[in-house]
């Protein structure tokens, strides 16, 4: 018995719709990208089990960093006096009512700093906070 090679069949992936697919991907990544990125402070985040994703997109998040020496930075603006946080938070809140404050505090930072931040955020009416944590069981 003889097998003949069917060499005449052309196998080609249609490339006509490739630009369309690339366009779709492009649009997805354009929408998903938030270019601003803050460097913040070096912190060691605490761990928690019941963490959940932030309910809003990155656009609506302001981050407050607190390191273990009680240095406070809000969106790359160093906050010398915690009282200044009120104005900063108030401005952000006025610009964006959906704002969520993400607190990235070092796990060895003192509660007195955190409590002061709470008070200032309350006065600025920025009430939705999120304590950044790493997943893990302690």
């Amino acid at each position: 018995m003889e097998f003949k090679k069917k060499s005449n069949i052309k196998l080609a992936i249609p490339t006509a719709s490739m630009p369309d697919i690339i366009f779709m991907l492009l649009i997805f990544f354009m929408v998903a990208t938030v270019i601003r990125q803050y460097s913040g402070l070096k912190v060691e985040l605490p761990d928690a089990a019941k963490i959940q994703k932030l309910a809003v997109s990155k656009r609506h998040i302001s981050t407050i960093w607190v390191d273990k020496n009680s240095n406070v930075v809000m969106d790359d603006i160093p906050v010398k006096n915690i009282k200044d946080l009120r104005n900063l938070a108030y401005k952000k809140r006025a610009e964006d009512p959906q704002l969520i404050i993400s607190i990235k505090a070092d796990k060895y930072s003192k509660m007195s700093t955190i409590n002061k931040i709470h008070q200032e955020l309350r006065k600025a009416s920025a009430l939705r906070v999120n304590y950044s944590a790493l997943p893990g069981e302690f």
Binding site: K50, K53, M111, F138
Partner: protein, 135 residues
């Protein structure tokens, strides 16, 4: 003078390189996107002002955290890891329970997050933060 219409001239933007340009843009956005979403514990702070809301004392449980990282609930020192169970029992007895969380100013943030985590685990929705350092 009659100006003849130049109908024959085709004006077209070359579209052969369009795919290349789009590719380039795609690669740029691919590189700059970071999809990692931040995760954490949500909490809504109480509104500003000292509005006293009368809460019957039986609906409040006081939870203290001291500087040594110990938790005390209803005048009993408990292990932080067992808080979820204790709070759950209390919530079962009284669904209207409010947990009032007080932290010492020298206590560590770590303990605070762990306690909040335990409260979330127990399903406590009503958490109040008492301010300890009154000025």
């Amino acid at each position: 003078m009659i100006i003849g219409k130049k109908k024959e001239k085709d004006v077209e933007i070359p579209s052969a390189s369009l795919a290349d340009i789009v590719f380039l843009l795609l690669i740029f956005f691919l590189v700059t996107t970071s999809i990692d979403t931040e995760k954490g514990l949500d909490l809504v702070l109480p509104p500003p002002g000292d509005i006293e809301i009368k809460i019957p004392p039986k609906n409040i449980t006081n939870l203290f955290i001291n500087a040594a990282g110990q938790a005390m609930i209803d005048n009993e020192v408990v292990d932080v890891n067992q808080l979820a169970g204790i709070i759950k029992e209390k919530l079962f007895e009284n669904p209207l329970l409010i947990v009032s969380l007080k932290t010492h100013k020298d206590s560590e943030y770590n303990v605070y997050v762990h306690v909040l985590d335990q409260l979330k685990k127990a399903g406590a929705k009503r958490i109040s933060l008492a301010d300890t350092d009154k000025e």
